[in-house]
């Protein structure tokens, strides 16, 4: 049952009693008007009776006046006769008018009129004439005749009155019956209507109550479903291995799952309603400055904010954790942000492992370099040792001079190599200006032997010096890695091209701002990297070199280049006509160093 159906029922329940009462009132009106008509008739009968009585009185007055005059002959006794005679006709006419359409009454009244006229003309006038003439009117016959005439008049009048009274009696009985009927009708109507209204209302209320019960059931079911789904969600949130915090649109904490409570050290009751940056206090690992929370960032950018690296969470007790976090807006149906959900996890162990891996790769690079250096130094050293031995064991002066020249020549080589090495492991805390051309030349010199072993020709296209701010030891590690990869890919008999392309600050085709800097390109004409392998190249422990590789070179290289605010990209071609791989490294002249990026 919907609301309009319910309103309909309300209207019906209101209108039906009104209609029923109207019907009762109509019936009552009909009955009352019937009774009223009867009352009118009764009043009419009353009027007729009193009128007939009036006429009878006038006739009696005339008769007694005439009798007095006839007896005495005195005109004073004659007065009542003349008074009554003057309007008896008029009163009879009134009585006639009152009779209306009643033919019986009319007939009686006409008879009365005639009898009166007969008495008046046949007895009264002759008696009056005799008396005036001085005679006596005491004749018995005459008076008997007058009495008979008067008796007729009286009988008529009595008839009229009696009939009127009978009428009246009959009408009163009729009125009583009408009132009785009316009471009965009223009673039955009231009963009938009452039952009708009762039944109808009951029926309507039943349907309302059924609908109400149904609504209650549905509501109950919904509530149960809602409870179930909320329980499921809660269980899911509780079971998630990451910390989850939800905030309202103002950035106040609403809900924290157990992992979030454990990581932050805040309980749900303490944290609820608190501003997020109080509960989730994060700082930059390197600068130790407070970092904008993902929630603030989400509010600012109104989109999902991805994982930020190198963030430390200060727990409630002051201890610190390395974390990775991300935030996403919670939107309502209209798409408005009504809250933010923050997801984070403890990456302290992950970071330690990563650091260990990076250190490992550094050691591996150092080891390889040490071997190269040992080789480079041992060769001339061996010659010098041998020359010294020869001189000590009796050489001619001329020979000694020759040997010393050779020894000097060999020692110069050692010096050259050691010079190249000097810059290699001078670790610095702040970036220094590095000449890329010089650095690449030094690296190529150090790797010369290895490149010859691999039978790879190296060509360098480095037109002029390009300086960038960088950490030299780390850049050396990157370029050594990349050149080694290229040489191994091109071996044997292949070619490796190392080039530097300076780039001026400006704006590219897509409107992206370009930084001033240089792109170092290391290209080989090796077999190329297959498409299915390429996406994995920058992942740790991925190697195509089997036992010989650590699988960390490119991963660490990318880390170092990212730290330098640069980019590293790799394109490769496996087609017969143009196979080979090109790695491009862009370094900015004055980069923003991502501190702690290593």
């Amino acid at each position: 049952m919907n609301l309009s159906q319910f309103n309909n029922i309300l209207r019906q329940v209101f209108l039906l009693p009104v209609a029923a009462l109207l019907v009762v009132a109509g019936a009552l009106y009909f009955q009352i008007s019937g009774a009223n008509a009867t009352v009118n008739l009764i009043q009419n009968s009353d009027a007729r009776i009193s009128q007939a009585t009036l006429v009878a009185k006038l006739v009696v007055d005339e008769e007694s006046g005439l009798r007095g005059y006839a007896t005495t002959g005195d005109l004073r006794f004659f007065q009542p006769f003349t008074d009554a005679e003057s309007h008896v006709q008029e009163e009879i006419q009134k009585l006639d008018d009152l009779a209306g359409d009643d033919a019986g009454q009319k007939h009686d009244i006409n008879e009365l009129r005639e009898r009166y006229q007969t008495w008046h003309d046949g007895f009264a006038l002759p008696v009056i004439g005799q008396v005036r003439g001085g005679g006596k009117a005491s004749d018995v016959e005459l008076n008997l005749h007058g009495k008979r005439l008067m008796d007729d008049v009286r009988r008529d009048l009595n008839d009229i009155i009696q009939k009127a009274e009978e009428n009246r009696e009959r009408r009163i009985v009729q009125w009583h019956q009408q009132v009785h009927t009316m009471l009965l009708v009223l009673l039955f109507l009231a009963l009938g209507m009452g039952v009708l209204i009762g039944l109808f209302t009951r029926n309507r209320l039943h349907s309302v109550s059924a609908a109400y019960r149904q609504s209650l059931e549905i509501l109950g079911r919904r509530a149960e479903e809602l409870f179930q789904s909320e329980q499921e969600l809660r269980t899911t949130l509780d079971s998630i291995g990451d910390g989850v915090i939800t905030c309202d649109a103002e950035g106040r904490v609403q809900m924290m799952n157990p992992v979030a409570r454990e990581l932050t050290g805040w309980s749900q009751s303490d944290a609820g309603g608190q501003p997020l940056d109080k509960v989730f206090h994060i700082i930059n690992e390197a600068t130790r400055e407070t970092v904008e929370t993902p929630v603030a960032k989400v509010m600012r950018l109104n989109r999902i904010v991805g994982r930020a690296d190198h963030t430390m969470l200060i727990r409630r007790d002051g201890t610190e954790l390395n974390i990775a976090d991300s935030g996403a807006p919670i939107r309502d149906k209209k798409g408005e942000t009504i809250g933010i959900v923050l997801v984070f996890r403890d990456i302290t162990m992950e970071r330690k492992t990563q650091d260990a891996l990076i250190a490992n790769e550094k050691l591996a690079v150092a080891g390889r370099l040490a071997a190269t250096i040992a080789h480079e130094i041992h060769n001339p050293l061996d010659s010098v040792c041998n020359l010294l031995y020869l001189m000590r064991n009796g050489a001619t002066k001329e020979e000694s001079g020759q040997f010393m020249d050779m020894a000097e020549q060999e020692l110069a080589r050692v010096t050259q190599i050691s010079r190249a090495m000097l810059g290699l492991y001078r670790e610095s805390k702040a970036p220094v200006v590095v000449d890329l051309k010089e650095m690449l030349q030094e690296i190529l010199l150090l790797m010369e032997r290895r490149l010859i072993d691999l039978e790879v020709t190296v060509s360098a296209d480095m037109p002029k010096s390009v300086s960038v701010a960088a950490f030299p030891a780390e850049l050396r590690q990157v370029f050594t890695n990349l050149i080694t990869n290229a040489a191994e890919a091109a071996s044997p008999g292949g070619e490796v091209k190392v080039s530097i392309t300076p780039q001026a600050a400006g704006v590219d085709d897509t409107g992206q701002k370009l930084q001033a800097g240089a792109t170092v390109t290391i290209a080989d004409n090796g077999g190329g990297v297959a498409d299915d392998i390429r996406p994995h190249l920058f992942q740790p422990f991925f190697t195509t070199k089997g036992e010989r590789g650590t699988g960390l070179g490119l991963w660490v290289s990318r880390g170092i280049i990212n730290k330098h605010g640069g980019t590293i990209s790799l394109t490769s071609d496996t087609r017969q006509a143009a196979h080979g791989t090109v790695v491009s490294v862009f370094l900015a002249t004055n980069p923003t160093i991502n501190a702690g990026g290593d």
Binding site: A371, H378, N379, S383, C385, N386, R449
Partner: protein, 124 residues
């Protein structure tokens, strides 16, 4: 000059080192042939009655290991002394040759080891 006139083949791509080693061995009484790479060394090895080989490991084209394998195939009785600037060559490689030493250990060690190798052969 106890083992006079033993013919020794020296192979090394380092020209100065090779020259010095030649003078050293000649002073020690050996007859010395030299080659700057694997293939030319092998040619001399096949063409001459070489009694011992002093072989460098890291050389362009064909490294010492490969040269040693071919020499063993041709004349397995000729002792080979592998010289290398690298430390810690793999055992498969060192098993191929009679003796292995790193550069820079000094002339006396080289002469002593070469002498002992030749003595071993002559007493076989």
């Amino acid at each position: 000059m106890k083992q006079s006139s033993n013919l020794v083949l020296c192979i090394d791509d380092e020209l100065v080192g090779l020259q010095v080693r030649k003078i050293l061995l000649e002073r020690a009484g050996y007859r010395v042939l030299t080659a700057q790479d694997g293939p030319s060394g092998l040619e001399l090895f096949y063409a001459n009655p070489i009694e011992a080989v002093v072989l460098d490991y890291s050389m362009p084209g064909m490294h010492g290991g490969e040269v040693a394998v071919r020499m063993r195939q041709a004349k397995p009785q000729v002792p080979i002394l592998l010289l290398s600037a690298y430390m810690g060559l793999s055992t498969e490689l060192t098993a191929l040759v009679d003796l292995y030493m790193t550069k820079g250990e000094g002339a006396p060690v080289l002469l002593e080891k070469l002498g002992s190798l030749l003595q071993l052969v002559s007493t076989r």
